[in-house]
Symmetry: T
Subunit: 145 residues, 12 copies
Amino acid sequence: MNKILVLHGPNLNLLGQREVGVYGTLTLEQINDALEAFAGEHDILVETYQSNSEGDLVTKIQNAKGSWDALVINPAAYTHTSIAIRDALAAIDIPVVEVHLSNIYQREEFRHRSLTAPVAIGIISGFGVDSYLLGLRAAFNYLSR
Amino acid sequence: MNKILVLHGPNLNLLGQREVGVYGTLTLEQINDALEAFAGEHDILVETYQSNSEGDLVTKIQNAKGSWDALVINPAAYTHTSIAIRDALAAIDIPVVEVHLSNIYQREEFRHRSLTAPVAIGIISGFGVDSYLLGLRAAFNYLSR
Amino acid sequence: MNKILVLHGPNLNLLGQREVGVYGTLTLEQINDALEAFAGEHDILVETYQSNSEGDLVTKIQNAKGSWDALVINPAAYTHTSIAIRDALAAIDIPVVEVHLSNIYQREEFRHRSLTAPVAIGIISGFGVDSYLLGLRAAFNYLSR
Amino acid sequence: MNKILVLHGPNLNLLGQREVGVYGTLTLEQINDALEAFAGEHDILVETYQSNSEGDLVTKIQNAKGSWDALVINPAAYTHTSIAIRDALAAIDIPVVEVHLSNIYQREEFRHRSLTAPVAIGIISGFGVDSYLLGLRAAFNYLSR
Amino acid sequence: MNKILVLHGPNLNLLGQREVGVYGTLTLEQINDALEAFAGEHDILVETYQSNSEGDLVTKIQNAKGSWDALVINPAAYTHTSIAIRDALAAIDIPVVEVHLSNIYQREEFRHRSLTAPVAIGIISGFGVDSYLLGLRAAFNYLSR
Amino acid sequence: MNKILVLHGPNLNLLGQREVGVYGTLTLEQINDALEAFAGEHDILVETYQSNSEGDLVTKIQNAKGSWDALVINPAAYTHTSIAIRDALAAIDIPVVEVHLSNIYQREEFRHRSLTAPVAIGIISGFGVDSYLLGLRAAFNYLSR
Amino acid sequence: MNKILVLHGPNLNLLGQREVGVYGTLTLEQINDALEAFAGEHDILVETYQSNSEGDLVTKIQNAKGSWDALVINPAAYTHTSIAIRDALAAIDIPVVEVHLSNIYQREEFRHRSLTAPVAIGIISGFGVDSYLLGLRAAFNYLSR
Amino acid sequence: MNKILVLHGPNLNLLGQREVGVYGTLTLEQINDALEAFAGEHDILVETYQSNSEGDLVTKIQNAKGSWDALVINPAAYTHTSIAIRDALAAIDIPVVEVHLSNIYQREEFRHRSLTAPVAIGIISGFGVDSYLLGLRAAFNYLSR
Amino acid sequence: MNKILVLHGPNLNLLGQREVGVYGTLTLEQINDALEAFAGEHDILVETYQSNSEGDLVTKIQNAKGSWDALVINPAAYTHTSIAIRDALAAIDIPVVEVHLSNIYQREEFRHRSLTAPVAIGIISGFGVDSYLLGLRAAFNYLSR
Amino acid sequence: MNKILVLHGPNLNLLGQREVGVYGTLTLEQINDALEAFAGEHDILVETYQSNSEGDLVTKIQNAKGSWDALVINPAAYTHTSIAIRDALAAIDIPVVEVHLSNIYQREEFRHRSLTAPVAIGIISGFGVDSYLLGLRAAFNYLSR
Amino acid sequence: MNKILVLHGPNLNLLGQREVGVYGTLTLEQINDALEAFAGEHDILVETYQSNSEGDLVTKIQNAKGSWDALVINPAAYTHTSIAIRDALAAIDIPVVEVHLSNIYQREEFRHRSLTAPVAIGIISGFGVDSYLLGLRAAFNYLSR
Amino acid sequence: MNKILVLHGPNLNLLGQREVGVYGTLTLEQINDALEAFAGEHDILVETYQSNSEGDLVTKIQNAKGSWDALVINPAAYTHTSIAIRDALAAIDIPVVEVHLSNIYQREEFRHRSLTAPVAIGIISGFGVDSYLLGLRAAFNYLSR
């Protein structure tokens, strides 16, 4: 049974309440439920975790080593500013899939650059909650190969 | 029944023969077979088309209007240079999913910029042939909503 | 009798159907009719040609030499990316007028640069179909001097 | 009867005396005569005004509001440096046509950028005195629609 | 016997007619004759091909694989804009020599960058028709090693 | 009665001890006292909070929603580096006033850019402790309108 | 009694008539009235002056020396283009407060840079007419220290 | 007898009162006296003129044509921002010498660029009042050749 | 007896386990032991502290004031992104030595810039664990002077 | 009989010993022998000279005037940094051919720019020792025309 | 009696023979004669020295300390590339005047930047041999103050 | 016994006389004495060499190969401009330690970039003479491993 950790970056705890025009009305809880439903169907063990703190995320990523087979992460704002998270992702020997709810190429110039993408196996961006489900599937397929 | 057109940009006809270390050993034919298998399972009508010519791709995209419900496109090299393809994608009222075999953020600086991504609903990059299958699924899910 | 060739670049065949808010409801056929009506009134022979292909446009421009007295061209997306069209325009000894339906300075940053304008005698941008008619008139006036 | 104000920016009072190779031998007076001849033929009321002062031009533009139906302006050097003129043009509810005698794309890099073009309906550049006549016609056609 | 394909990019069919001051009076036919004369002397089989179309050139390059031992290419305008040609050149396992009639470092800034040079074994630029002959010789020497 | 939360970013707890030449001798406590004195006079409820942690500030901002009517924030160093704080400020539906003790335009180049300012209603910079008092007043006036 | 001069830059005489969505419906006269009301309450002598001319503003600023105790200035468009006004402000030994009606960080990229801010004691931006009143207060507080 | 016009740009009327550490204690009047003394010794007719207004300076330069044999100008702040003054200097057929009191290379980055220098015969920068005297001498020597 | 605090930034707790090719096989514990051995030999009191959190490091640095005589810090990823740590280091009156295990000039472009180095007395980069020992020695020598 | 001087820039004396993977095992002596063999076959007089000093190379180039008919130069590192060598090459009226052993477009970004190429008739880069032989031939052909 | 050393940078020994259109027909010897004539008239001791070598010039500058009262230098190509000469000029306590024969602002972009100017008291550029004489005079006047 | 060569770049022979505020009062001789004292204590053979000439330093570095076990170099100004020194350092198979007296990150922007650092094992910057001693120790430790 594959074990996949799903990490949510800063402000994602506000989903469903914040900028509904951009992010839709689904809450983070509903996204987590959908991820767990998918996991149940595919015999994956999934854990989800959200934090607003760069340092917490770094530590959480470090601890993934040895405990999890893959990581799905939406680094949110830290995508564009955190070399620390990039270094943590690069340090562990676990495949990483980066996901974004919105299409980062349709947003401000400073969101087009991803510091974390080069250390992920791939990125999925723009499909709302489906980005997470596709990301989980991508990680699962990757492990199955 | 949803009808989805899959377009392959320049040099993708060489898949399986070219830079196997980067792109894997699957041929374009095998990718197309996989796409059709997926389509068969989900009651989608899929057509695939490859061209090395920017103008051909523009015309093919234009003609999609009215005939197809969604477009999955890997613009390959034209991702980074073709405003004409961008304009064609923006001109038709059909959802577009952009896919890439390799992770464009791990490659040369000039491949980090996508001219076409801002007119797609989302992009999927880095999962090899799985990028296509996830992209087809993303388009299908989008149409199902 | 002056002979003037009018070239339409990629995606202009979609006029009237595409982004009507930006480009208006006139079709390319109606624009061509207006150009021919103007030509008839001023004793000009006009031919119009549209292509989505950079290479076709290059060849068409090359062939203008010796057959046509002036060129009116809307290079559309190729305005910003095609050195090949620029070189073709520079290679023939025929006055060139560059026209644009929309005001390129009101659009994305990457549309502010014109690779072709430096080899044209002048540019007209932003007046919709009137850009073409003013451009044809500018070419005609130029030949009349 | 349409009323159109034509504004000439700095140094245009030197036309015909200065850099004849670039700007031709026509004087500003002759250009104004040509504009008035055109206006007479098309039942337009035209006034022309030249100033070397950015502040004067700003005030003149402000006063156009309510008195004139359209503005044709050759901001000359201020095209590239004056946000104040841009703001004045944006503040009045009158269509503006920007014209240039020479083709600004064939000149120094710093003349390729136009601060005023984004607030004009369109620009005409490179046709010598014909730029003014085409510009007046463009404004007239715009008002006639 | 070595087989070497020589590709001429856009507008090179105009040689001898166009900008004679820059490119000299030799026609493409005369260049091809010179290449064949050289080939005859050195027991090389040479074929020459010119196209204005980026897509055609991509396809022609792809087909070189297996049929030709080396490629000499003057990508002309596409040198500076075509990632598709670069990718095609990188995809085939054949040594490539890039040649230019004029010295690209003496021309506009945008011609100083070559997208194709990094995937060639070397470049020769500035010697007129001799660039081709030196390029053919370089390819031949390379194969002889 | 209006409720306004005042947030102090990293290192502001050192005020009065650090770089007295730049920041003056007032301590953070004295600033908070001044804010509360002002609040008392104007029937505002004020709370102040300082943190060195980006994540803590994000969480504190998120929690402001529903509890506070306005936010006055001096993001200090995070002004220039934190997209996470920007996103948090944008996510809550509360007016935000950004304040700085020193004039950020008189300091290093990298302090001229503010990532947070575009999501604030306005910014006040350079007046020492008075920046806070003017900011509190600005927020109060904004709520009173 | 403190004497404070308030300067309004180009196009501010149009307030209340122009782009009401951005600048509100208050006229410059009403702003001046508010400033004088505030001055009356605080025993300040206030004079206001508006000009569209960079040179006039430079001269007005120069003359402030010896006559006024402080300057509040909204340089409007000249904020971003006038080194002459910056030099004038730096040359007089009077504290300067820079104010803006709108939040310059929410506008076009070229409005984010302020040439004048580094020679002011501070800036206040984004609070509409309140920017002026807060600016006058800031100047007054500064003089009172 | 040579006739040389000396123009002083914005804020130079403040010399001797302003930033004495940078510009010294000489007043503009004393500089003008020194210029006239020099002129007297060398049989030159000199006139001096100062203005804070870009438009005034443009007009003054235009009028120099036909009346003066050479121009010595310290464009001060307009050195770096005025294309209008550059165009005026280029339009008249009179040799121009550009002078600066301070060494512009020792000051802010934005003062290193001179828009006017390319249309002057030469520039002299950094010698205080001696810059003017050397500039007048340079113009005189130039005319004497 | 000198008291020196040694701070380790994010991900340094993974040393010896992570990217062994780059960082070697020594663990952080072994580095700390080596530092303490050195301290013992030189009569220095050393304390070491590692954190993944920017805010924690800021607080730890602030508290160093008054308790420690010097600081040796490897800010790791925060070297390139943290203005908050820079401000904390600048705020305390204690000499700071910046150290890096790897040579930051041999790594990605974004690691060449150090935000913290300008507020340190010096930096030592590229010697593995020896960077720490040399850094401790440098701090010790500095205090001994 | 043509006389051609061949100059080798800094570090080329190390050939065959240094970075053999990049530059091959030929020594500079062997390259010089090959050049002389070629010269012997074509009735050319060749002299070769190597120096690590920019100034020496400048002097050597200056002295070529009048003594040599053409120059073949591999400026090595000075290609990218020496305006002095560029000026020397431009000052003598002798055709110059620039050669490089490696393909400079495949190396670090700072090696893509050539300061000397614009004053050469052409450049040859990437063919190892054959670059020299082709360069000598190019110079010879040029003189023979 | 003032002692002034005049240094000529690389390639200036070619004056009168090289690019006569740009630099005139005067030889370096004639310039030196003119400098000595001037020196004779003003009771100055002048020595002139030319070198093509950056290191020689550095050493010559270093030795000036204690032996000469001022330095006039035309660093030629090294103006734009030599930090070593800049450092030498900054290290000696002697006033330095930088001169250029041509107007560096009328030449290539890379000649607009001067690394040495910030450590000179001033620069004189564009007056041919007169630049030297004016420079010597400027140095002399400076010493006389 | 380890043999380590210490190279001093341009202007370092002036130490103790020049800019004492920045570099301290130690002379180069005293630094060399300190290096030799250290060498004596650690059984190292040390030689020191200073040159103002880039070419000399290149040659000295080349000759180190085979004679010395390690190199400690302070390239001074050439750090930022010399690709030739970089290439020489890369060409020899000897470990290199780069040292700087001052902290290059606290100085002008153009001193932040090091062309030589990427080919050194590490750099030490900012500790005055101690930079040399730490650098010698670093080289010694490296050899001892």
